[in-house]
Symmetry: C2
Subunit: 213 residues, 2 copies
């Protein structure tokens, strides 16, 4: 695994996370996500292909190497988040931005020893699975809140974003991983839901929030 610049690494992670079921995405989607100009993305796509990180010159599909690089970055990111919460007593909403930097530290030895010390964690503080050394991810049968059936009991296993503003909102509402919940009401016209948490507390969520569950 070569030592790519953090700019290149961030492009690869972004492309990975935006890929649809066919494994592809678009210049404009990447530009939007990175808040970069499409012209800049177009230029970078050419360079990523030259580095062998993209399958195709014109289509935005990760090559085998690109895919592995993405998964290894996600592995490092989630291991560091786990470390920060478990060892340095950070809160779950504090760790993402720091892990965005730490994931670019290049050291095979460090990447090997961090999970040993943490005793091979399988999930990060946001309930997201940590890819193994080879980049494999477990098959999760998690259901997004927007697809939950009314009155069916679920367990809160993960959040779909670990941005601090969203997590702070969950904290304010008293939501935590591991809680049991069910949807008691579902508004079709605006996608909002009413939840019963731990069988004793009611919370209302807008569709925007529900989508990140």
């Amino acid at each position: 695994m070569k030592n790519e610049s953090s700019t290149v690494e961030n492009y690869i992670k972004t492309i990975y996370s935006l890929c649809d079921k066919n494994g592809k995405t678009t210049v404009s989607a990447v530009a939007e996500r990175l808040q970069n100009n499409p012209a800049s993305v177009s230029n970078m796509v050419r360079r990523l292909h030259e580095k062998g990180l993209l399958e195709n010159k014109s289509k935005l599909i990760l090559s085998k190497e690109g895919n592995l690089l993405a998964r290894q970055l996600i592995r490092k990111h989630r291991l560091w988040e786990t470390f920060l919460v478990r060892v340095l007593n950070f809160k779950w909403e504090e760790v993402h931005d720091i892990a965005e930097q730490l994931e670019h530290v290049h050291s095979p030895l460090l990447t090997e020893r961090l999970p040993v010390f943490l005793e091979y964690p399988k999930f990060d503080p946001h309930g997201d699975p940590i890819p193994d050394k080879k980049g494999n991810l477990p098959d999760l049968n998690a259901i997004p809140l927007t697809e939950a059936e009314v009155d069916q009991l679920y367990i809160f296993r993960s959040v779909a974003t670990d941005k601090s503003d969203f997590l702070n909102y969950l904290n304010k509402k008293g939501l935590q991983l591991g809680q049991k919940w069910k949807v008691t009401e579902k508004e079709e016209f605006d996608g909002s839901v009413k939840l019963l948490i731990d069988e004793n507390r009611e919370v209302y969520f807008s569709e925007t929030v529900a989508q990140n569950f």
Copy 2:
């Protein structure tokens, strides 16, 4: 404290470490140390001065802010080295290059919590003092091996470089911090010395090695 690029941070650290008793150094010394062309250094010196990190436009003297930045980088570097050895079981010769990357991670919260977890270490794994939050360093009365008196007993407190090749050499010779030693012979013509370690083992050191003690 603004968020400088790691290139700028590395220049500031280099200038700091090269400064003489008058607090100054030269373009050519920095170029030599960083293995850069003097023209590149000259160009960077102008930019560092524009950023307020150098006292003077033409003389290579750190400003108050430049000096503090350097000390805070050294603090982070040595805290990370301590963390790697104490927590992740790294050996003292393995940590410098990783700390060179970790010291550029910018997070006031992390810089605050790392020393709390480590219980405010005063020295790094190489015996080098860790500056406090404000950048203050303790006054050490350490004596370099080259200035040691013959037959006087000393304790091995620190090394002057933490590059892995030098530390591997010390490992091979069985040298460790905390050991007692005295110079039993000193060759004036080549600066080499003969040491008695822990009163039972003899080692010969060239002047090159002695200078890094």
